[in-house]
Symmetry: C2
Subunit: 191 residues, 2 copies
Amino acid sequence: MVKEKVLVEISARHIHITNEHLAVLFGEGYKLTPKKDLSQPGQFACEEKLTVVGSRSEMKMSILGPTRKASQVELSLTDARTLGIDAMIRESGHIEGTNGCKLVGPKGEVILDKGVIAAKRHIHLKPEDANRLNVTDQEIVNVKIETPERTTIYGDVVIRVRADFAAAMHIDTDEGNAAGINGTAFGEIVK
Amino acid sequence: MVKEKVLVEISARHIHITNEHLAVLFGEGYKLTPKKDLSQPGQFACEEKLTVVGSRSEMKMSILGPTRKASQVELSLTDARTLGIDAMIRESGHIEGTNGCKLVGPKGEVILDKGVIAAKRHIHLKPEDANRLNVTDQEIVNVKIETPERTTIYGDVVIRVRADFAAAMHIDTDEGNAAGINGTAFGEIVK
């Protein structure tokens, strides 16, 4: 029997922003400009970029919409080192105790006192996907990604189940490069 | 029985250079200035840096000595993307068919027509280490690296055996970050 595989998507560095911070950075009443829909329903990449300032350097990053309850910078540990920010590995939204940074927009600046993370690798699934793949919400699994030169099994992958998710594994650019992913890739859950 | 583990070392981007290219880049008769011995006997990081120029950007990289028979730039795939160079995943020295770049030094420039690679992950071992670990030269193994948030099993790891090697697994910064390595790490060979 051929085991079902999950699409692997590589997340480049990006920013989630609150309405309040958006107003400071781009001006009162500003609305994000959707550029491209993402695989997760309702999520989109925006035309807007911000400059993330660390102790060592700075970097432009795109905003992902819609706005959220907390601002958050998601980057790779390579990015974090380049910027000079000590980023913790966290699930999105779990930012208590993480480090912050300065965000610079066209109309203003914001100092985040927390929110810079390297995303913990995870798989988005609908409940019916989870049933079929025999996994449950918050379960930790291993995922094998086969490539010509850098086959890798990633452990510590968090399963996240929600009706409005689309089935996809998300890893960052370090993880994509470490596995030698070049183009479309799929992963097999191996417990 | 506790299985023996191998030290994992993370190689940052670096350059190996020929005597001929060294003379062009730094001037006739120039000698490399050792800065720090590396784990492999006879290998050392140098004070000298070069600018590697790609189609998209440029980056300073240290030279590792001693000089070699072929010039070679070893970088991560993250670096390669930043620079705009399509780097192939290759064992060190296996540069036929790879892409090149421009190197800029204080006294001159060199156009490499090949030699930019992302190193294929590998383990250096002495013959007695290989015997003890039950592996042979050029064997491909898997290595498990356990970390708090990003445990990873790397496949496609090449065993390299030579009397003048010191036991160490070498991975690049993408691979180190993808495994969440922070400080000293060890890997377990799992076949």
